[in-house]
Symmetry: D3
Subunit: 265 residues, 6 copies
């Protein structure tokens, strides 16, 4: 690619991809509402509020791929989710429509299905069961992307990210973890596949203990290489015997299922 | 019920229900952003923008049932859909949570699945395929309601209304039509069922030609009485031989699938 | 048929069938562990403990059909269930195997699936979820019958009876009720069908509000005629507004789900 | 329609439709390899071997609908099936392709699924299990029609006819019977539907005892009016107690499952 | 764990686990109706008839895990199965209920599904098709465990053991074999999983040729290490060309499907 | 085996198997309509038109296994397909029936499902969607084989070959490729399996990017060893960036979906 846009590039996941995806495009355009530091030679930095349609329109111009990590990424007040995850996503898809439909990888979330139990093995046809306003906003994003695909041919990978971080830190993440490197490999597949379509993909590593079935997306040839299992002993040692009735161990969404709704004052 | 709230009561469907649901509650509280005319003795009229959280909070207070017809009901600019169908719905559910979880009938839409072909017979587990921003907003509504059900026990009937009007006026409506009386019967079932849960229900009459399977919701005992079939000859006479390749006859969402996205200026 | 055996003939359902199934066979052989009163000319009365293999062997001899209503029909101590529903059923099938495989209608129960919610619509492929020892014993019966069918060709109708009584008396029974006449019609179909096989059949009338799908068994041509719906007003009047969170209204098995296990002293 | 072609018009089913479908088109073009008698004013008679491509090309010219009953309709030597049902069908579809894709109703057969048991309830997604060369030729026809639909947009109704005759004459036909009038009604729906697509449809009346699920094709609005059940007593009286282990009562294809393969000498 | 109870510890599988599961608990309590030899320092030996409720009550006391291998493990007289596998299992679950719900691994069996063909690939939602009284008793066990899970939260792993032995000795076991070491690994997963629930698990090694799908249970992270394939040449050499029509090669339950019912005298 | 017949042995795939399957049988009988060169000591060469029943009868005599690669293997005129793939296949199955039912591996094709999109993951229960006359002829072959299995016990492996060649040469083949060695391994499994039945098997290597699910056929223990992935860089380099809207990248059947029907002059 000539230019890959990474939104949310100042967040933890964005920073991890900023250094790992350099081979995917000649230029990385990085955007965030927060400070992005100093640009490397192959980088363009753009501070941008996703809720600002004009800014997003310009942000997308000239890009032939978008890794959309931007927006609110945990449970929060609805006003913030509304601006960043609902209006912001609409702005992004309209900008993409105006600029030749660059392929998009949209960071959806396991919290679209958070109310499933951890002893349930589901595939992407399982009806969504979001566990909070954040999860609902990701369901919205998946619906919006699907519509742009059917109506305009816009291709998107809807990646329901589990827990993408350095390493898993509790028993739930032994199932939900995705390593940075596996996410990098997924980005490579998504942006180079002969045909992408608009698949939902579970964003997890090749963990021994997992809840989700990615076989429908084998056509992309993504083969995650890491396995949370190697951290089990470390987690057992740190956390002791887990309580089988705690939400963290019962629900796929973990503690999100019991989080309150944050009220705007 | 003591008091049933009907939002969107100034619209065509709202007006039809205003006169038909009087036996369901002692008082009908009617709201709309438009003028509602003069209140009958059993009526309370409240002009209200669904995007106004405080107004919605007060609107719901004291109600033990809500027929939510309010919001944008056709394809429109996203700014309007955002206010009425996204923010407005959140306001409504937060108000319901604050006021004892009155049961809700939410007017969802066939445009959540508009891209299915008319020769496909689907049930409510079929993944959504919205045909525009309006359809996407209804997917959002279904997700939000589901989350409030799982998290807080809020019961909602998610009624994917086909074409609710006096009578069907084209060949597509021979499948999608729901009579006012059948919608009235559905309201009775929803608001008096021993247990409602959070089902998706296809809002159609007992039409000979139909695409949707309601058998999962038989526990509610709703039996629509009307049948669009009796209007076939009239429609044939008025419209002539239908074109089997026109979107109106190919897609469940009809012409919505080819509607443009309306841009905010 | 020459001779139809009805076990459990002194119970409420047995008494109802004793008078209704006279046209199905020249002779009705009626058995129970309790007193059966006086035999009519076309009747043979046999007092019999199902746990007594020799007695059951003789009981079945000469019969070309068996309506098996006998055994424990509510939650009870396991010792009683063991004798009547486990050992008793084995005795019955061994007797049938020795006597030419007379066709059997086995009274199974909705309590094999009692833990499903009332807003779930299930068919016979749904995994069993028994709600007590009684329900478990009926699962055992279904397994045993299936094995005798596959291994020896013994045909059985496994009828998961909902609530078979004079009329429904609470809101749950608006879904689960089966009239005596509809059960009679089912017996006629089962004992005269060209081929029966070993189907599971939901034993309910043609109720507007129902949870179960009998379409797989349409080959038998059973069309129940009654509908619990006609009793709704009466039940509403008698019981008032139902609590949507009470087990009676949430679970298909109703209050059985919260019944204790009865301990043998 | 201007002109409806009926092939196989000299057969029993063809003769039944010749008199019943007159209102569907201004002209009926009737063809058969056998003698067709005298033409009525609205009829055109064409003697034609389906294996003759040129003859079929001319036969189809000028028709805007085809009811294809022609070909071999029972188990027979492969050479005859090859000519009439394989080559003949190809000729028909090529002729239709050359002449503007007139809509086709293709008489497929229950013998495409003859090896299913009569206690199995199946829908059109059940894999085919043909019971002889005739059944295999109908599977071929369904595949060919499907290909012409996907590749060229040719619409066909693939009607798996059960037993279409004056009335049912054995126990199997209590399930498989379709009355002439119900087939007539189906023809009306197929040739006037706004959009047909390429559905498989089970060709049976509204029989109480049935094996097949037509709910996927409800969009056509076909509602068969007859019911084989009214002939049950007559059949019971004529045939006595059926043997539950006879192929006629075990398999959906009845005795076809045990028919030999007829060898060409 | 403090104390793991192994029932049936004198059987072949019990003896294999007695030496392999020492690291799972500080103390192994071993029970059987037969002699258990001499206790090692970390062992407690208890001779016990599972049909004796009081004995079982005491047996379970103080245990925080139960590997239930006890009971009849092949086809046998019903009286013996009744005592050990029906009454015995009830006794075990009542004892577990009285003593804080220690987690249970229940040795179910492939004979719950013995009548499936070996060319059928099934998952745990496939309806049971037991091949004898032994298989029926295991269906009972699964139902009972499920009920205790839903009613009381008792967690159980229902392991449908294929052929757990030193090595496979016929062609069928190339599919059904589970090595002792893989069963050991499964025990480790079951007794240390953060949450177990009540899953059915196919008890086989990672055999190339297999009939059963364990993907629903991936959340446990069990990865069997052995593969019966390495014994194929040895079996081919010993047994010669297998007969494709023999029950041993046609049915998943092998010869059990043709075993007689053993009659009590 | 004593003697394995390979039809179509002069074609590319036939030649590849001629040298690779020598260990499967003492004698390879090779047939083709084209010249087969010189016979090696373990070979028998037979020039034969599959449309000639007598010739095929003699061809099959004395064989205890048949690898049927013969017939037309690309889109062609119907007259040629009719002779070789329809009549020819019937001749083969009749010959096999006359000669003791030697096991058959039938080379079916991915063009039976060519109209599925490449972002669809399907299993063998997906309805066929052939992409041309060639694909239709393979659907016919699968139906015929199924009928001979159910009616006469004839075992066949229906192998839907993707792209069996030296190596993949375009992006589509990264999914559809099967190496010669993997096809050889499959032949070994098919001809030595204890029981074969009549399974459909997707004929592909262990490619990272694949559309088809072979898990139903695991009982055969076939484990393909190769992976088209290793050729990706080479293909990328040779062909450049693929067009995501080209039929070659959208449909599983690739360019076949847009191929014309070849008319006989």
């Amino acid at each position: 690619m000539k230019r890959l846009l990474i939104t949310g590039a100042a967040g933890a996941l964005g920073r991890a991809m900023r250094t790992r995806l350099t081979s995917l495009a000649e230029t990385l355009r990085l955007s965030d509402i927060s400070d992005l530091g100093t640009a490397a030679p192959h980088e363009e930095l753009v501070q941008c509020d996703l809720g600002d349609a004009d800014a997003v329109y310009k942000l997308v111009e000239g890009c032939d791929g978008i890794l959309h990590l931007g927006g609110i990424s945990v449970e929060d007040k609805f006003s913030k989710i509304l601006n960043a995850n609902l209006l912001g996503l609409y702005n992004l898809y309209e900008a993409a429509r105006a600029h030749g439909h660059p392929r998009i990888l949209f960071a959806s979330s396991n919290h679209t299905v958070g109310f499933y139990r951890q002893d349930q093995h589901i595939d992407v046809n399982a009806p969504t069961r979001p566990d909070g306003l954040y999860g609902v906003s990701k369901c919205f994003g998946e619906s919006l992307a699907r519509m742009y695909f059917e109506k305009f041919g816009q291709e998107t990978a809807l990646v329901r990210i589990g827990s993408c971080m350095e390493k898993p830190t509790n028993h739930r993440m032994l199932s939900s973890w995705m390593s940075y490197n596996d996410f990098k490999l997924l980005n490579e597949r998504v942006f180079t596949a002969p045909m992408l379509g608009c698949p939902i993909i579970w964003g997890i590593s090749n963990n021994d203990s997992r809840w989700w079935d990615n076989s429908h997306a084998r056509y992309l040839g993504w083969k995650p290489q890491d396995n949370a299992e190697i951290y089990r002993a470390e987690i057992d040692a740190a956390l002791g015997k887990p309580d089988p009735t705690a939400p963290l161990h019962v629900y796929q969404g973990g503690n999100f299922v019991k989080d309150p709704i944050f009220r705007d004052e």
